[in-house]
């Protein structure tokens, strides 16, 4: 049976992880390779790196980071942030990313989704949909990290993104993001009912129950979380056990091989 996925998310600046991590037991908390290896051992099902490097001069740092991580960690890696063109997608995939997440550029120029899907396959094109609720059952798409309203309807954009070739949607509620008060379940339900591709829930996880709700009531295939791992509040083995005991299919955490750190 296909298991539901738990995906830790890291913000990356200049090739270094700056947010969304547990700083426990690490020599160098900002080293993406060390973090990725640690979360792999803990049973993370995938990893997402979001590049927030502001300076375009420093953007090549993200490719180096993807290479060093993908060379040593053998679970799927998604990279997002600053993807503007099909050649950006190609560079990330060639560096070792398995999936590329696009957001603002896809809203501004939706053909980018088609170019990515045609060139490299839908399986590696994730469209990140950031929305705010404007009325019950109605959400507006925002870009630029949630700063810019677009006037676009969230459900319509989700459908269009999939029609254009997105293989997966990463849905973030700007209302719940950062509050640790739970995912926007009506939003997740509306989007998972509207599209056939897997949906990753993002924004608002604070307790194990929030993850459970995203999977069961929200219909999410995966949950993305950062804060819940911050301060080591809940680790992945605990969350997986919690969810498995409640009937959510989970890939068990594999015991470490002998000789593994």
């Amino acid at each position: 049976m296909l298991t539901k996925r738990i995906i830790p998310c890291f913000d990356v600046d200049n090739g270094r992880v700056v947010k969304g991590i547990s700083f426990v037991d690490l020599v160098d908390a900002g080293d993406p390779v060390e973090l990725a290896a640690k979360y792999d051992l803990q049973g993370a099902d995938e990893l997402v790196f979001l590049d927030i490097t502001a300076s375009s001069d420093a953007r090549t740092s993200v490719y180096e980071m993807i290479r060093s991580t993908a060379d040593q960690v053998f679970i799927p890696l998604t990279v997002g942030g600053g993807v503007r063109s099909a050649s950006d997608v190609r560079l990330m995939l060639e560096s070792g990313a398995d999936k590329v997440s696009m957001n603002t550029a896809a809203v501004q120029r939706p053909e980018l989704i088609e170019e990515g899907a045609k060139g490299f396959g839908s399986q590696c094109i994730v469209v990140a949909v950031d929305v705010k609720r404007i009325a019950p059952g109605k959400w507006e798409v925002f870009t630029h990290g949630g700063r810019t309203p677009t006037g676009r309807d969230g459900l319509e954009w989700a459908r269009e993104a999939v029609e254009r070739g997105a293989g997966e949607l990463l849905v973030t509620s700007m209302d719940t993001d950062g509050h640790q008060s739970g995912y926007d379940i009506p939003l997740l339900r509306a989007i998972t009912d509207a599209v056939e591709v897997p949906v990753i829930a993002s924004g608002g996880a604070g307790t194990p129950e929030h993850l459970y709700e995203a999977f069961t009531e929200g219909g999410a295939a995966a949950v993305l979380a950062a804060s819940i791992f911050h301060f080591g509040k809940y680790d992945i083995p605990f969350l997986k056990q919690y969810l498995a005991e409640r009937g959510v299919p989970m890939r068990p955490v594999e015991p470490a091989e002998q000789g593994d750190a």
Partner: protein, 216 residues
């Protein structure tokens, strides 16, 4: 340069190459037909669409050498699109003839299901297979695909996976050929073990030299 990974312009070659290196042998990644012909162990990876895959293989003049290599009896591993390309025909985006090494066709999951089938799922082997040695029955592997094989010969189905009520062949092969729908290079510990087993198999058959250095 004993272990060859076929480069026909598809993504994720780097991941496959690093996983093979991690398993103990630095592979050669190539698009040159003569190097495929000389290979002692051959891996065809791949993601993307069947039509492009076959067009790229033909344009590079690699389809014939891959068939000849397999016919020679040397160890072959196909991954995802590299597995689908082995069959007679793919229905992805029309009907596209493939390599015809295995009988049958590649078909889409029924409409109404969530596709791609993306994430970690279990594989149930029909019989023991040396490539799965030491890997517990029912272990999890990482899948991402919308199409799957429908072999015409049941004997070529080596392992199966269930997704939303559909049971499909996730490991296929015969004799020197083994191929997986899932991505061992993205399947953590057990995926790396599969590559180790494949290299060991090639070594035992005298195809490649013993590992000189263990991967770090």
């Amino acid at each position: 340069m004993d272990v060859v990974i076929v480069d026909y312009g598809a993504g994720n070659l780097r991941s496959v190459a690093r996983a093979v290196a991690h398993a103990g042998v630095e592979p050669r990644v190539t698009a040159i037909a003569a190097e495929v012909e000389r290979a002692r162990a051959l891996i065809v990876p791949g993601v993307g669409a069947a039509e492009d895959t076959m067009a790229n293989l033909r344009a590079a003049g690699l389809d014939g050498p891959i068939r000849d290599y397999i016919a020679s009896g040397r160890p072959f591993l196909g991954v995802c699109m590299g597995m689908q390309a082995l069959f007679d025909l793919s229905e992805e985006g029309g009907e596209h003839p493939c390599l015809g090494v295995l009988g049958g066709r590649i078909v889409r999951f029924p409409y109404g299901m969530t596709v791609p089938h993306m994430g970690w799922n279990t594989v149930t082997l029909r019989d023991e297979h040396p490539v799965f040695e030491g890997i517990p029955q029912g272990s999890y592997f990482y899948f991402v695909h919308s199409y799957h094989p429908r072999p015409s010969e049941d004997a070529t189905v080596l392992g199966e996976t269930e997704y939303e009520g559909v049971v499909f062949p996730s490991v296929v092969g015969r004799e020197n050929v083994v191929a997986t729908q899932f991505h061992p290079e993205k399947s953590g510990r057990w995926g790396l073990r599969l590559y180790e087993n494949f290299l060991r198999l090639a070594r035992e058959r005298g195809s490649i030299a013993p590992a000189h250095t263990a991967a770090t």
